[in-house]
Structures are given as structure tokens and as C-alpha cells.
Symmetry: C2
Subunit: 433 residues, 2 copies
Amino acid sequence: MSSGESFVEVGRESDFPLANLPYGVFNTPENRKQRIGVAIGSLILDLSAVVDLFDGPLLHKDNFRDGHPFSQPTLNQFMSLGCDAWKEARSTLQKLLSTSEPTLRDNESLRKKAFAQQSQATMHLPAHIGDYTDFYSSKFHASNVGTMVHGKEKALSPSWLYLPTAYHSRASSVVISGTSIHRPNGQTKPDPNQPPVFEPCKKMDFELEMAFFIGPGSELGKPVSINDTSKHIFGMVLMNDWSARDIQAWEMAPLGPFLSKSVGTSISPWIVTMEALAPFLTDNFKQDLEPFPYLRHSDRYNFDINLQLELKGDDMPDSAVIVETNFKHVYWTMKQQLAHHTSNGCNLRPGDLMGSGTLSGPTDESRACLSEQSEMGKKDVDCGNGTKRVYLQDNDQLTIKGYCQNDKIRIGFGECTGKLLPAISYPFAKDST
Amino acid sequence: MSSGESFVEVGRESDFPLANLPYGVFNTPENRKQRIGVAIGSLILDLSAVVDLFDGPLLHKDNFRDGHPFSQPTLNQFMSLGCDAWKEARSTLQKLLSTSEPTLRDNESLRKKAFAQQSQATMHLPAHIGDYTDFYSSKFHASNVGTMVHGKEKALSPSWLYLPTAYHSRASSVVISGTSIHRPNGQTKPDPNQPPVFEPCKKMDFELEMAFFIGPGSELGKPVSINDTSKHIFGMVLMNDWSARDIQAWEMAPLGPFLSKSVGTSISPWIVTMEALAPFLTDNFKQDLEPFPYLRHSDRYNFDINLQLELKGDDMPDSAVIVETNFKHVYWTMKQQLAHHTSNGCNLRPGDLMGSGTLSGPTDESRACLSEQSEMGKKDVDCGNGTKRVYLQDNDQLTIKGYCQNDKIRIGFGECTGKLLPAISYPFAKDST
């Protein structure tokens, strides 16, 4: 089925062929209610309009007297059902959308009700995110940043090669692609010999990341075995973890980044499922040390996902691709991240979000944030036509794209976009510097 | 009204006189539905049973066609309504419960329906906690810990006196008082010259804290002026932020504490409102530096709240009070914490939880965690009858209590309890060390 054709027209370069079928939450001008949809070509199949067509044993409407998972305003309930239900849904959807199946194809009134144009829809966060954790799992990124801050010999923190370093981040400020972000005000210390100042951030940066959503949760006090981790991973999105580097440098000792990271974190609206990604499994990153048994798995759980970031500034006639990287450069697998996260008994909830960390690769153009490319502001990053950046400028528009391709199929993630607006004026702090 | 009498019997030492009226969420064996209640003496007034008696302009049932805030399973909706609604609710409750008011007093069938015994009730988390942030706002604590780790000269991190240091913590693992916590497994490095090990935590600790709940939220990109902060603060609870010190020491560079803090965070079930706490306002902690204008306020927003922690181990005939401190030792006020948290535009949501950090005071017995009392394991902490601790032992039972008292009234927070269970066995990592 997965390489089959849909009766919905899908262009050769579309991110959303029948082999993909990512889930999202949308509404339309005609129907303001938020509902779950699946992207196919340039359309959205509104699952709330076809709930009755899910007739498998797990998703049959008779199982859900209090409301079907596809009639909800978020994906949390569907996420919580687990792999077997996800598989059943995918199978039903691939059948319903295939050229050979008349149910939808030949029912014009149902088609009219069930399909929306992506270009007409407003996308929303696909899930209620209970907690958002950000890992730091590219060794290239951690080494580059560590070298700039601590020198080459002490680039990686002592525990980095032993465990997937991460921090709890802020869930409230995770926003859907397209949301503009204000340059934050904050305390920084531009001159090491002078007191700090409170003013608009001068070192605003992006971080090209990906993130995965948790499916079924886990109980407090019950670690998830590495062998069971994949059952808890629903799918992936693109992510831009906006970062205020000067605020970060001043605030982060000793408890880690705080306000530098809660300015906004943008995610792409379509969650590409692990089933859709299966054809793009690739070898795990070769690890320097054999990990502890609780982090050990021999099966492949790395993915070949091409990623790029485009920047378009007011001063640029065209957008410039300034990052080209791949998810596969990640050192710690998502299985290892999840096993580590729960190894202390920390509980997970459906819809929790786990970021990869900045996905830098081995080359210069794969450095996946500006501070890494500009070596913390020391080097210009060429943006074409004589334009350049060291950090982001007001009104810079960022677009992250991602796709997987093999001989047979191509699936994509759509886009994760966001614009940096000027700092808000802060009248109640005007004499602060 | 606030010093008046209730027709419900309230003992002289009760935490819950008519002047308190804290909010919580409970259910009973007779009615498993989670509902909102107010503590009075040894009883709970079930607000879902008296919704119709809230006849003020803001809480009248006609305002809430989709469900009254007091008919919800959590306090989030009520929290979101803001100070005026809170004031109206308090005024209605004080009237309904007063000796002079017959409505409830003389209606036996309504009383029977509306009151439950606290001893019969099961308490639940009072709100859905969207995000949990933990501050680090006692200078005594930060100085003591900093001195042990970095020496006296570098005890406080460079930014500590300029901003209320904090980190995003884990919301999923916040649990209600009475929930037992398993000693976590984790990576630690007991011998600096040997590789790390994965085994049960050997330095399990508590942190005596308090925390406040956010009322109305704020928008992303819209800082809350210090002058408006108190409108966003609903009330306070006791908190024990369980901490795995050896896991923390190994994992926390460079991104801060992670699994050491998501083992569990216990909170007391009754939220004491800021209105109830108003009589116990006290002078703000004298700050060493004048803060930036966005953190500056001249009004008092510190509270005189007596706090203690009792420990009862299997080896102890009696429980021992090992911490006696006071909330007023906190350096940064809750107003400053909230203004700082939103200064970058980070949005708040009703029900967000903000911890104070370990509330150590100036004296030895006010050191509010074991690692501070034992100087990181170097000194025995006397627990009476020849028993002692450096860190927690399996089955140690902790009880935090808090109360405010002046010439006229005494109000309390009830208890925040929790027991440390032995580490869960970790069969899939048995050869890890």
C-alpha cells in the first residue's frame, strides 16, 4: 500500500503522498472548530468527517462512547492508544484514499465535506503538550559549542558521552509554525567588566531541531525498558528552538537555560508517524563508548531525514539556505533518549514533546544554529547578494524544511516557519540600563 | 469577617478556621467524582454541592452556561477568573459558613450533602499544572550550597544577585501529598577517578519549599509589569522537591538538573489564598543590590510563614523535627519571580506552579535540605534517640507543616507528606555496574 497511488492528486514533489499521511489539527473559515486531519497532496482529509469509516476493531466508534479519538480537538487521545491503533488507522486511511477504493472517491458530497484545502486551513498545535524536554544529542553541536566556550580539550561535559544530556524546557511557549516571535528583553552582560544591562536581546538565534511526540504515557516510578521505547514514540515534527544567546550566557549558571529558551519554540504542524518513516531507517550513529545496558539497543533507530533552513531578511532580495543537515547526525537515538528520560521513574504523558537538540552535522553548512556558524559572533555568515548575519535581525523570516527520499518514495514534513519581530517596548523598565 | 466564627467547629489549633478557607480537589468513597472543596475545621465544604449559593455578579451560575468553575474537577477555571472573582467567592464562603447565617447552618439535608470529613476524603492535585518552574531564591541556601561546591568566594553564581535564578522543571511528576516516591536509579560518579555507575541513588534528599499557583495567564510576547504581578498569584502550597544529589552532580553540567528532579515533587493539597495570607505580610528581604526597574517594587510582598519538616525513619521511635525555617527568608519576592519569568515574553497559564527553591534561613536548623545540613554528606544530622542521617534512607517518611500566626488568628497549610520507597529493581540493567 505504502507506495500506492491516491485518487487525490499528489504532485511528484509533494511532501504528502499516500506513503506519508501525517496527522495535524486544523480549522477552516467555514468551520472554526479545531479538528484532526491528515495531509494528502495539497488537501486535508478531515477525520472528524469520516469517523464512521474507521471500522477496524480498535478504532470502531462503538469503542468510544464518550467521543471518538478523531472527533477530539487534539491528537492526545489517539496518541495514547498505541501502535496497534496507529497501524489500523494508517491501513484504513491508505485504503480510503487509494485509487481503487470507491467509498470516498465516488461520493461527491462526502468528499466535499471531508476534504479541505491546506491553503485555506489554519493549523494549530497538534497536541496538548504536557511537558517539553529538549535533548542536546548532536555530538557535532555539543563539541562545536563546547569548544567555543571551554576550549577543545574540555568541549564535551564529562557526562555527555555517558548519557543523553537534556533539560526540562517550557511547554507553554511551544507554538505552531507561522507564529511570530518577539525579540525578548532580558538581562545580559555585554561587557565582562561592567554590571549587567536589561535591554533587547542582541544575540537572537535559531536552533534547527526535530522533536518527537510521546504516544502512550508511563507511570511514575516505572522506567520504560529500552526494548519497549518505540511503542511510546508516535511521530516527529520539525522544530525551531528560538534562543537568546546573550540572555542564556548570563543566566545559565548553575541551573541551565531558562528565559533564553521560553521566548518561543516553533514546531511544524504535521506529525509524520514512525510508520511513515520506517523506510528511511538508517544506521545508528557510531557511539564512542558502549552505553550502559539501560541505553543499549542493537536495532537501527536512526532516520535519514534531509533538513534545511532558509533565512529571508528585509535586506535580502531572496531567501538564503544557510543550513543543510540531516537528522541522522544525532548521536543518541530517540530510544536512548526515552529510556534515559524514564530511567529515574519519571512519568510520560501522551503528547509530551522531546526535542533532539540542534542537529548539526560534520560540515560547516550543517552547523544548525547561527552562533555555531558565526563562532559566537566572530565570523560573518554569508546570506548571498552581499548580505550576511552573525545573529538574527528584526523581521528575519526562517523556514525549516525536511524530507526523506529513496528510490521509490519521497515524504516530507512541510515547513516550520517563524518571523522574528522587533523587541516589544518595555515602558516600565525604560531607565533600566 | 475574617476573624469571625463559623458554625462548623474549628479547634484552636486547626489550620483551617474561617479566616483561611483554602481550596482543594477531593473525592470520597461515596462519590468518586473529583470536585472542588474548601477546608473548614476538620470538614470540607463541597463547592459543587453549593454552586447555586454563589449569587454574586461574577460567580452567579448564569454566567457559566458551559459549567460553573466550582463544578469542575480542577481549580484552573476558577484560578483564571482573577482577584475580583476570588474575593467574591471568599466573601460568599465566609458568609455561608458564619455562625450568623442560617442558609447552610439550618438546612440539615444540604449540610449532609455539602460537607465531607477530611479524614474520609482523598485529595488530588488541585489544578492541572501546565508548567512547573522552580526558583532558587533563598540566598542562605544558594550561599551554603555554593560554598560547598565552589568555595566561599564564588558561592553565588555571578547573576544570582541580579535576577531570580530558576529552571524549568517537570510538571508530570508533581504529585499530591501522601504519594510515595521510589528511590531512583541513575548514573552517578561516586569515584572521580573511575567511570560512572548506574545504580540506585545513594544521596536522596528532600527540599523544603513553598510554591505558588498562577491565576490568570499572560500572553506570549507580553511581559507582566511588576505592578500587576500580584493579580496573577492565586495562592500557595507547601512543597517537597525530592532531589537525587548524586545523579544531579553528574548530569547537571551544562544544562542544569534533569532526572535528579523529575523523581517526584510533592505538594500539599490545600491552596491557601493570598487573601488569607494578607494579615501575615512582612517586610521584604533586604536586597544587597537595587534590582533593575522591571524587578523593583516598594510594597511588601513577603510572608511570615513558619515551616518545619519532620522525618520518621524505620529506625526511629519518634519522628524528629529536623528543619525549622520560615518563608520570609526568601530573597526574591514572588512578584519579582513572576515579573522576571515573563520579562522575556514567556506566557503563563492558569495553574502553572512556581517553586520558591529550598527555603533555608540563617541558622543551622533552618537549613532546609539534608545535603545542606550534612554539608554534602560530611556531617551527621541528629534525628534524636541516637539516630542520624546524612541522606534519606529507604522508608523515611517526611512531613512538612506550615502555619501563620498573629495575635488574633492562626491559619495553616495542612501537611505535605511523602515516603521514600526502596529503589525499584531494574532487571533490564542488572549488569550495568
